[in-house]
């Protein structure tokens, strides 16, 4: 049975255990999404968006979707070892995509801020949720968004009312339990930030156990007028962890949104970061860093759609690739006719350390407005020989000179992090990785 058929077949079983949820309005969306998934088909290499990332082949080889769904059990100790040290956050832990209340800790949350399990929110805040659910991420366009939408039940709903600053970052730890069998889950997040509010999100992905895991996550983020959102995504997962993630952001007038994506390990990772800038005076930042070796495959697709005038977007993605790793970057910037006075910058820089590593980069600008300043740059190369010589001349060994140069290359992205403990954690992690693995 083909991969697609298998995934569709699972839907009946999923539907059967929905109970009351099946009669709610969002279930129509699920069914439509499944239909869309059937029409779209599983993206193969002929699909321009998945040209360099053959998920079909890899997933077919690694997964048996007929037999997925072993019971998960993660203890408090197991979960807490993934928590980022010294970082004081509200912690939400998801086990195989399911909100786990016992492992989570939410303390001192500002009044009226809502952090909820999505399935609970579907029942309790039905009206509110239906205005937000599947309104940003278009399941008709992307097969993985369709798949996630069809299976959406677990995940989180976070609502920040107007004029509220959420002091502590909200950290979402996704732990997959693959100790008994393979794990496949479709968590869905809806973050709604009302006007003049501020909040920071962190999504972190980890796997327990030796079996393969596949996370297909979709986060929909609505940033209302003059709100500010920081969004961190951390991927330092096992070699057996597959990940497809879509973050769909909708920005309204004068809002600010910054995304940081750090990919340090995994099997095959595909990140879609899509921002629709639908208001004047917005600022959007996207930072990304991928340090990969072994057979890791990382594909970062970003898209900024400038619909309204007077906005700024800025993008910096850097990568270091070693061994047989494969990196893909595709950055799209659309500037619509109405979006005059847009400033959009995009930069992708890569270092290849081995002849078996491959980098496919496609920075793409599509512009229909004339009064704009847009630029993109892309480089792929190796360490600067002069720089190496300078360090060697001062008595550094080849290894430490190399690690220092690589660190300097990578830390550029890290230095833009605003959370000090996270910055420190990543700096240490990166320098450790560079010393040991590259």
């Amino acid at each position: 049975m083909s991969l697609q058929e298998n995934l569709i077949k699972n839907f009946e079983a999923f539907e059967a255990q929905l109970n009351g949820h099946a009669s709610q309005p969002e279930h129509t969306t699920r069914k439509n999404a499944l239909e869309a998934f059937k029409t779209l088909g599983f993206p193969g290499p002929k699909n321009e968006e998945y040209k360099y990332t053959n998920l079909q082949k890899s997933l077919e080889k690694a997964f048996d979707f007929g037999k997925i769904g072993a019971e998960a059990s993660i203890t408090k100790e197991q979960a807490s070892k993934y928590f980022i040290p010294k970082l004081d956050t509200h912690k939400i832990v998801f086990v195989n995509g399911k909100f786990d209340e016992k492992l989570s800790s939410i303390e001192g949350l500002e009044e009226q801020v809502v952090i909820k399990d999505l399935s609970t929110a579907f029942t309790e805040d039905s009206e509110k949720i239906n205005k937000l659910f599947s309104k940003q991420a278009d399941y008709k366009k992307d097969a993985f968004v369709a798949l996630n939408t069809a299976y959406s039940l677990d995940g989180s709903f976070i609502h920040v009312p107007k004029n509220t600053v959420v002091k502590k970052p909200i950290a979402l730890y996704f732990v997959n339990d693959a100790s008994e069998g393979q794990s496949f889950n479709n968590p869905r997040n809806i973050f709604h930030i009302e006007r003049n509010s501020e909040v920071t999100f962190l999504e972190d992905f980890n796997t327990e156990g030796a079996h393969e895991s596949l996370t297909n996550i979709v986060s929909e983020i609505i940033v209302e007028e003059n709100a500010a959102v920081e969004y961190y995504k951390l991927q330092n997962n096992k070699d057996t962890a597959y990940h497809v993630g879509t973050t769909q952001v909708h920005q309204e007038r004068s809002s600010r949104f910054s995304a940081y994506t750090f990919t340090l390990n995994g099997a095959m990772i595909r990140n879609n970061m899509n921002i629709v800038v639908d208001g004047e005076g917005c600022e959007s930042n996207m930072y990304g860093l991928y340090l990969i070796n072994g057979n890791t495959h990382v594909d970062n697709h970003t898209e900024v759609d400038h619909i309204k005038p007077n906005c700024v977007s800025n993008e910096l993605y850097k990568g270091i690739l070693d061994d047989s790793s494969h990196g893909v970057f595709n950055g799209k910037v659309f500037v619509r006719q109405e979006a005059q006075k847009t400033n959009a910058f995009q930069s992708n820089k890569n270092i290849l350390l081995s002849d078996t590593s491959v980098m496919n980069s496609k920075p793409q600008l599509e512009i229909w407005a004339d009064d704009v300043k847009c630029s993109h740059g892309c480089t792929t190369g190796q360490l600067d020989e002069d720089g190496m010589f300078y360090l060697r001349a001062r008595g550094l060994s080849v290894e430490s000179a190399r690690a220092l140069m690589l660190y300097a290359f990578a830390v550029d992205v890290v230095s833009s992090i605003k959370l000090e403990p996270l910055k420190e954690f990543l700096q240490n992690l990166i320098s450790e990785r560079l010393q040991n693995d590259f």
């Binding site: 491959v358 980069s361 496609k362 600008l365 599509e366 512009i367 407005a369 704009v372 480089t379 792929t380």
Partner: protein
């Protein structure tokens, strides 16, 4: 009259300059495409058996292929059965010298500003003129022959040098390469053939002028340039077509084969009829151009100025196979009115220490769409490959679009690849500076655009550079505001 005045004067004449056509009796094939038409063309050209087989193979491939749709252009579907695939100006005997060429035809070329005779005398450029699908005259043939250079029409080459043609045809662009290349391979009617023997430096610019005259015809010419070891040639190509309401198809193939230490420079000034303001008429320009640097230290350089055509779909490419070989691509693509251009290049690095450079300048005005699509690929064994790409877009008016689709695929760690692109408009301060000094707005724009394109225009041979500059001004005329 100074050059500036000339540009100014041409600004005032609004229409497409080469929009006339001359009523000339033509020898045509019936409309449509079938195996019989392929045989008809081949028979008409008295071609040997192997070439007919080659054409039929291409035709068979073509029928199995589908028209590609990935380019960023939109146009109504082409009815391939509604095109005349062969049209030759009627001439009873083959002309031996220019004196015998139909005077009407000479008049045509005179109108184009490339009076064959005049060119022969004044500039020292050897010209091969292709009218509709057939080469009508080649100048300077004898002088070139003294050096062992073969420069003639494709059909002559098939008759006189079959061994060379057989060896190199399809070696760079195979028949099944793409839809339009297959179509061309099946029905190509003529074109130019150029062979530079070992160690010869071609003393003059070689030039081909293409013109589509008859209605409803498609032009399918094929150019093959072979540069033997240590040789050098600079090749120019120019094109025009009359103003017509229907769309005409132009699907050409250019192949360049460069042996060790050879250098080939290929320059194009493309000025096919672009259609009117409403997008009516104009040429569909679907061209496959590719060169291979087969030998070590060889070099191929493409320079193009694209101002015409309703739809352009063209990617002159270099396969850098020999070690230390070099590829260059310089392009200015200007679109106005309803024109659409999807153009760029491919640089495939295979050999060691190969270098490539891409400079692409796009200017869009009116309601046009201008895309750059390029690929830089560094293969696994291409040690120390080096690439620098720059593609800039200039937008004039808020109804046009500029798009960039660069593909950068690197499989070797010693490669150094850089790509940068910018999109902007002409600054108000720049225009203000010019108008303040008494230069009117339209000339100011021509001035700024010319400066913006300078890097590419500098690569063109003298005579072409002047023509290209005038063309730029003309294409953008009326786009202010």
């Amino acid at each position: 009259m100074s050059k500036d005045d000339q540009i100014l004067e041409e600004f005032t004449s609004k229409e497409y300059e080469h929009g006339w056509n001359i009523d000339m009796e033509a020898d045509q094939a019936p409309k449509g495409l079938s195996e019989d038409i392929v045989r008809f063309i081949s028979a008409k050209k008295e071609e040997p058996e192997w070439l007919l087989d080659w054409r039929l193979k291409a035709y068979k491939k073509w029928t199995q292929m589908e028209e590609p749709d990935w380019a960023n252009v939109k146009f109504p579907k082409i009815n391939y059965q509604d095109i005349i695939y062969y049209s030759a100006p009627k001439q009873k005997v083959k002309p031996k010298s220019l004196d015998e060429v139909d005077p009407e035809m000479l008049e045509t070329f005179k109108k184009l500003g490339i009076s064959l005779e005049e060119q022969k005398r004044l500039t020292g450029v050897a010209v091969d003129a292709v009218f509709d699908s057939v080469s009508v005259a080649t100048t300077f043939k004898d002088k070139l022959a003294e050096l062992g250079i073969i420069f003639c029409s494709f059909s002559e080459a098939v008759q006189d040098h079959p061994e060379l043609v057989k060896k190199y045809i399809g070696s760079v662009v195979p028949v099944n390469d793409n839809y339009f290349a297959a179509l061309n391979s099946a029905v190509f009617s003529d074109g130019s053939f150029c062979y530079i023997p070992k160690g010869v430096r071609c003393p003059m610019e070689l030039s081909t002028y293409f013109r589509i005259n008859a209605a409803n015809t498609g032009q399918f010419e094929r150019t093959l340039i072979v540069a033997e070891e240590g040789s050098y040639v600079s090749y120019l190509e120019g094109c025009t077509a009359p103003q017509r309401d229907e769309n005409q198809l132009h699907a050409a193939v250019v192949e360049i084969y460069a042996q060790a230490d050879a250098e080939v420079k290929y320059s194009t000034v493309q000025n096919w009829y672009p259609g009117d303001e409403n997008g009516k008429g104009g040429i569909y320009n679907f061209v496959t151009k590719r060169g291979i640097c087969a030998g070590d230290r060889s070099k191929i350089s493409w320079t193009q100025v694209e101002t015409g055509s309703a739809v352009t779909w063209k990617y002159p490419s270099c396969i850098l196979k020999g070690d230390h070989s070099q590829g260059e691509f310089y392009s200015v693509a200007v679109t106005n009115k309803m024109q659409q251009a999807d153009t760029g290049t491919k640089m495939i690095h295979i050999g060691k220490n190969t270098k490539s450079r891409i400079v692409s300048k796009g200017v869009s005005a009116g309601k046009s769409q201008n895309s750059y699509r390029g690929q830089v690929k560094v293969m696994k064994r291409a040690e120390n490959a080096r690439n620098f790409s720059q593609c800039d877009s200039l937008l004039m008016g808020n109804l046009c679009g500029a798009h960039t689709f660069p593909y950068i695929d690197i499989e070797n760690s010693s490669a150094q690849v850089e790509h940068e692109a910018t999109t902007s408009k002409i600054g108000e301060d720049q225009i203000f500076y010019c108008t303040q000094r008494g230069i009117d707005e339209e000339s100011a724009i021509a001035l700024i655009v010319n400066g913006y394109c300078k890097e590419v225009l500098n690569q063109l041979p003298m005579e072409f550079a002047v023509e290209a500059q005038k063309l730029l001004a003309l294409t953008l005329e009326g786009s202010v505001g």
